[in-house]
């Protein structure tokens, strides 16, 4: 049985404050690594804003979940009385299954979050660099990354925007395709505008105007995001015909964009489409704007609908992702069990060889030199022929008995001791 133990502090067991306190940077992992290595033959820490997990294959004495939990707390210098955090625990192949599920994004707070794959890769590299990851965790991490990639390419678990600001970007891409070189305008300089700017920037937006009643706030946002041009709200009409995407999120009861303003702007745009996203409550854009040809007006409800539909689609993909995880777990179990076969075969061969040489030695004095050579050859050939079929069947037989049981049976029949072949040095 795989002696892998894991504790997971995640979005189900801890609130954001607790998760923040227990978060490990790679420097902090470095700090605790020696302490973990003293208790574990192999280990692995993955820590993100939504989870901190420690996987351990103990070096000698088994580690309880409580030990692991306290090890995690110790690394963050959290006193026992300071913050009580719940945690989940996993053992053996269930821990492997959990690791794979995390890599595929089905265990994420934001279902199908693909960032986890990169975070897991970084955690693995740190583990390798610090000498925490050994044969088994190396293989488990590699398969976890593979499972994550498979889930991404074979299912729709990470497709579609699942945040309102990203749904706005997705909508813009559905109209304009590539956003590179496009011009966008943000009306308002609050949190929503900042989020939108952060999502638009990596898409290669050519020009970004930030219009706000208080010019200073717009300038502050430009400075904060390091991109764009601030402008007063009353200059909006002049720039409107030059922009492709407008995202409005200001307060107030009057419409910031009226039908007449947009209609006038559209005359200067020939037939180029204009996307207006109104995420202000109450609405910033006169609903009649929607009637203007080539204008796409969508509000916060539209964006929420996109997010909801994408989440529904991702939820529907969970069974498919679980199938990927199951396949990879089965492959991992096969690989793990195969680790035991080699040392067992060696133990058996050594034992039989010992019997053979002892027996030949007993009768050596009664034979001449040529006879000894013949007997050596005959007995060696005999041993090889006798062992050939059972050892082949041990590795390949499909007789309904698991590999683990076959190995156990062989050890029991031939009295092969656990310590004699050294297989525990290789396995967890």
């Amino acid at each position: 049985m795989l002696k892998l133990t894991a504790v997971s502090i995640n979005h189900r067991t801890a609130n954001v404050e607790a998760r923040e306190k227990i978060f490990y940077s790679s420097e902090e992992v470095r700090g605790i690594s020696e302490k973990i290595k003293s208790a574990a033959r192999e280990s692995f820490i993955v820590s993100t804003c939504n989870r901190t997990e420690l996987y351990i294959i103990p070096s000698s004495a088994p580690q309880t979940h409580d030990n692991l939990y306290h090890l995690v707390r110790e690394g963050k210098r959290l006193d026992d009385g300071e913050l009580q955090i719940e945690y989940e625990t996993f053992e053996g192949f269930e821990a492997v299954r959990h690791l794979f599920s995390v890599a595929t994004g089905i265990d994420s707070l934001m279902l199908g979050d693909i960032q986890i794959l990169g975070q897991m890769k970084d955690a693995y590299n740190t583990g390798v660099e610090l000498g925490m990851v050994g044969t088994i965790m190396h293989h488990a991490c590699q398969i976890a990354l593979k499972a994550g990639k498979r889930a991404k390419s074979e299912t729709k678990i990470s497709e579609g925007a699942v945040s309102v600001s990203y749904a706005a970007v997705e909508l813009a891409e559905k109209i304009f395709g590539n956003l590179k070189g496009r011009t966008a305008m943000l009306i308002g300089a609050g949190e929503a505008a900042e989020l939108a700017a952060k999502d638009l920037k990596p898409k290669g937006i050519g020009k970004l105007y930030i219009a706000n009643r208080t010019l200073e706030r717009a300038q502050n946002l430009v400075e904060h995001i390091g991109f764009g041009e601030a402008m007063p709200l009353d200059a909006l009409t002049q720039k409107l015909s030059q922009v492709d995407i407008v995202i409005s999120s200001v307060g107030g009861t009057n419409y910031v964009l009226t039908r007449d303003m947009v209609a006038a702007a559209m005359k200067g745009r020939e037939s180029s489409p204009l996307l207006i996203i109104d995420i202000g409550v109450p609405r910033n854009v006169e609903p009649a704007v929607k009637k203007i040809s080539n204008v796409f007006l969508n509000d916060i409800d539209s964006l929420n609908l996109i997010v909801e539909k994408n989440l529904d689609m991702r939820r529907a993909e969970i069974p498919a992702v679980r199938r990927v995880v199951d396949e990879e777990v089965n492959d991992f179990i096969k690989w793990y069990n195969s680790l035991e076969v080699g040392p067992t075969i060696k133990m058996l061969r050594d034992k039989i060889e010992q019997i053979r040489t002892d027996e030949v030695k007993r009768y050596k004095n009664k034979m001449n030199g040529t006879d000894v050579e013949i007997v050596e050859e005959v007995t060696r050939s005999l041993v090889n022929k006798i062992l050939h079929e059972p050892l082949t069947n041990l590795k390949n037989a499909e007789n309904g008995i698991s590999l683990v049981d076959r190995v156990k049976l062989l050890k029991s029949l031939f009295g092969l001791s656990e310590g004699s072949g050294g297989e525990e040095d290789e396995k967890g």
Binding site: E154, K156, G160, L171, E173, K174, I175, F176, G177, N178, E270, S271, S272, P273, K290, S293, N294, F296, N298, D301, S302, L305, I306, K309, M313
Partner: protein
């Protein structure tokens, strides 16, 4: 010969089934994201087009003339060229989710062709000319490209209304963005226009030498010239007046409707030397 006849008949019956199965695979990928459909749709389309090509060649061998002597023979060629033109566009653009819509057009042409096609024993000697092959192939590719352009235009309008009405259903999720659909529609028009230009050029050089009762005032020639001129003006207008988006695709759909209506009127109601039965 009887063996060849049997072979041609077998292919004729198989082709609509093959097209239907290809559409089914594209549909599986479009509606259900089925891996089987995603992996095999293009492969099966290529296989179908190879079978279609073998059918057209075998038929030519059997009848001794290219399959352009009747409306139903031409329909099969159009079906084939729509498939080829679509495959070319798919490979260039990597947009595969529109295949179901375009290939439905090819399927419909092939079904009607397979149902009504007959062999003509007496064939106009003009049809034996190799220049005819180029002339007809260009015409078929040209009209197929214009048909494809209209289908992409239709898909653009579907997507346009999906976003404007904030429905965000399967059309929103699966179809390419509006910019890509507009580009595909426009590229198809340009290809259609180029082929149409080749048709007219060959026609004006080759027909007067080959046809005894050739006349420039023939209704079919005039209509072809008008269709060509309309597309020429539309392409110029797009450049001069910077048409984009909906204007381009509406022009494409109107252009194709006008082409179909004109061709039907000319073929059904007006006499023409441009009839090779």
């Amino acid at each position: 010969m009887a063996m060849l006849e049997y072979f041609v008949d077998l292919l004729k019956i198989s082709l609509p089934v093959l097209y239907l199965f290809t559409i089914f695979l594209y549909g599986l990928a479009f509606f259900l994201d089925e891996q089987f459909g995603i992996r095999n749709r293009t492969r099966f389309l290529i296989a179908t087009l190879i079978v279609h090509l073998i059918y057209l060649l075998s038929r030519t061998l059997l009848t001794g003339h290219p399959p352009v002597t009747s409306v139903f023979e031409i329909m099969s060629v159009v079906s084939f060229t729509i498939g080829v033109a679509y495959l070319y566009i798919e490979m260039r653009s990597h947009v595969k989710d529109t295949g179901m819509f375009i290939l439905t057009l090819a399927f419909l042409f092939e079904v009607v062709s397979a149902a009504f096609i007959k062999d003509y024993v007496h064939v106009n000697p003009v049809l034996k000319s190799s220049v005819l092959g180029l002339h007809v192939a260009s015409a078929m590719l040209g009209y197929s490209a214009l048909a494809i352009s209209a289908v992409y235009g239709g898909l653009y309008l579907m997507m346009y209304h999906e976003i404007r009405s904030s429905r965000f259903g399967i059309v929103y999720r699966k179809l390419p963005d509006l910019q890509t659909l507009e580009k595909l529609s426009y590229v198809s028009i340009v290809l259609g226009f180029i082929f149409l230009s080749i048709v007219i050029l060959i026609g004006y050089v080759w027909l007067p030498k080959t046809i005894d009762d050739f006349r420039y005032a023939d209704p079919k020639l005039i209509i072809t010239d008008i269709v060509w001129a309309i597309y020429f003006v539309a392409l110029l207008s797009k450049r001069a007046m910077r048409w984009t988006g909906r204007t381009v695709v509406i022009a494409s759909i109107l252009g194709f409707c006008l082409t179909v209506v004109s061709m039907v009127i000319v073929n059904v109601f007006l006499p023409s030397f441009h009839n090779f039965k």
